[in-house]
Amino acid sequence: MRLRYPDTIRIIRVPCTGKVDVIHILRAFEKGADGVYVVGCLEGDCRFENGNLRARRRVEQARTILDSIGVGGDRVKMFNLSSGEGPRFAEYAVEMTEKIEEMGPNPIKIAMRKKAA
């Protein structure tokens, strides 16, 4: 397929999106990530029944927390696709990257650099 998607994205593989917890998302921001998106199977298609539904709720929790601490809840998002949808994976990568570029860098990263300087 040789699809192109932004090279700023770092993929972290998990056995199921149900493995992703709020703390994993927050730690990514603490370490300077500009955005985090979780790509799970289509709703209703989870091999473990409700892993992707749990992930969606955790993404929502992370969004609320990020909003309340001034980092911006829109920096985190949940996407769903099937394993056969390579082009859609690339589309989501582009969509998320554009969104994050529009929002600018993670303010925590800027604050960390200021502190280190």
């Binding site: 703390i23 927050l26 603490e30 200021k114 502190k115």
Partner: protein, 222 residues
Amino acid sequence: MIVASKKPIEEIIEMVKDFQKILIAGCNECVTVCEAGGKKEVGILASALRMYFMNQGKKMDIDEVTLERQCDHEYLEELRNTVDQYDAVLSLACGVGVQFMAEKYFQTPVYPGVNTCFMGVTEERGVWTERCQGCGECILGRTAGICPISRCAKRLLNGPCGGSTKGKCEINKDLDCAWQLIIDRLKELDRLDEYEQIIPIKDWSTERAGGPRSVIREDVRQ
């Protein structure tokens, strides 16, 4: 278990913002089960606060610990040698744990990270409901195992009242009438005749109205 809910992060920030080094202390018991103050919640809150204060350009060191319990000396003692390093402790235990921490470490300010709500059950994940008010004189044996003190809005001992409609309480259409539940269960148990027995006036002095309470067991006391 004791059920608690998370305090809004804005309220927590307001409590701790003037300190430079704090310890967030979780509890492995009830608040872990009700997902308000266990190890996971400690990690999430610590991460969120670190980011908030970093973003504000304020120096704030935040350490994390989760004790087995905060309502017993032996576990709280684990902090004996380290608690002095902190300007304050933010305890995610129930109000009992927060107070015991404050009693034990007199020189360290202690703040609550959760709102302690009631003694209740996990009806389903994310839904906790009240079952006991600790009235000090249990009458469950007379009420088919359903507590009218904690589950009836009026705490009626001989109900239901006129506000019971189609099995629901007048204060909330989603709330079961405790006395309807009692009658239904007595019917199931084929013991409806017990419903005819009037429950006498309760001794409320064993409840909170009688002032702060204690249980002293001389047989196990050391």
